[in-house]
């Protein structure tokens, strides 16, 4: 069942990319999707299938809106730092803890952190994320966690766990 879902998703992406329903295209898509599913189906994170429950899907939409808002904010933040003559940066790598457990949620968290204002995920070991911060504003680990992962953790917990 899970494999079949993967297959359908892959076939959907293929059909969207080719955007035609000629039988050659569809046949090629079926073959490619089957191959990809057989070869890589095991490493495809299981948690992602849960997204299709209605409540999770709703929170996924909320997450998308919040995410886009933070990406735009991040860009103005970088533009401000780069174009300012004094370059107000105070970089460093900090360590924060996450309470998310599933791989999919952590992947989304790490990617979101990279695209939000002033932060870049360097590595993840166990429950800890190492994050390069362009402008460290507090020395207190608890506060750092609040500032960096707080926004997304709550939403992603609702989506994936």
């Amino acid at each position: 069942m899970k494999r079949f879902l993967h297959f359908l998703i892959l076939l959907g992406i293929w059909l969207a990319l080719t955007w035609s329903l000629q039988w050659q295209e569809v046949l090629a898509g079926v073959i490619v999707a089957l191959l990809a599913d057989l070869l890589l189906g095991d490493i495809f994170p299981i948690g992602s299938v849960k997204v299709f429950y209605p409540i999770r899907f709703f929170w996924m939409c909320v997450y998308t809106v919040v995410f886009i808002w933070y990406v735009i904010k991040a860009n103005f933040d970088v533009a401000y730092r780069v174009l300012n003559i004094n370059m107000p940066i105070r970089p460093g790598i900090v360590k924060v803890r996450t309470r998310l457990k599933t791989d999919m949620a952590r992947t989304f968290l790490a990617n979101s952190i990279t695209l939000t204002p002033g932060t870049l995920t360097v590595d993840m070991t166990g429950d800890h994320l190492y994050i390069h911060w362009i402008n460290i504003s507090s020395e207190d680990p608890e506060k750092e966690t609040e500032l960096i992962v707080g926004h997304f953790e709550n939403l992603l917990e609702r989506v994936f766990e």
Binding site: N75, V78, V82, P91, S112, T121, T125, Y130, H132
Partner: protein
């Protein structure tokens, strides 16, 4: 109407791309440069692709552009993470004025070299 929106998005996207490139030149070390490159170039490219969608409408090209936005959003942060991690592992130090490096503190004890 659609052309106006597309043109606006195109200009804004290119502006962000330029800011990202300036950041790539101005910022002091690889980690800061990655920040500028990842954030600005991701949104800039996404906006340029979105302008393509507005120009061509919802057809073969537009849908490809939409899918490309998704791919860029998924892969750019992952690539940045891989580069930053590789740089840190191969011993590239942070900028001299950096405040702290918890990653180095933690990995020093566990690795042999």
């Amino acid at each position: 109407m659609n052309e106006t929106i597309g043109m606006t998005l195109l200009v804004v996207g290119i502006t962000f791309d330029i800011v990202g490139c300036i950041g790539l030149v101005r910022l002091p070390d690889i980690y800061n440069r990655l920040q500028a490159a990842t954030k600005c170039v991701t949104l800039g490219t996404a906006l340029i692709l979105l302008s393509v969608v507005f120009y061509t409408g919802f057809n073969a090209i537009g849908v490809k552009a939409l899918l490309c936005i998704w791919f860029v959003l998924m892969t750019a942060p992952t690539g940045a993470h891989a580069i930053a991690r590789a740089a840190h592992r191969s011993g590239i130090r942070l900028w001299d004025d950096s405040v702290m490096d918890k990653y180095k503190d933690d990995s020093e004890g566990s690795e042999d070299n």
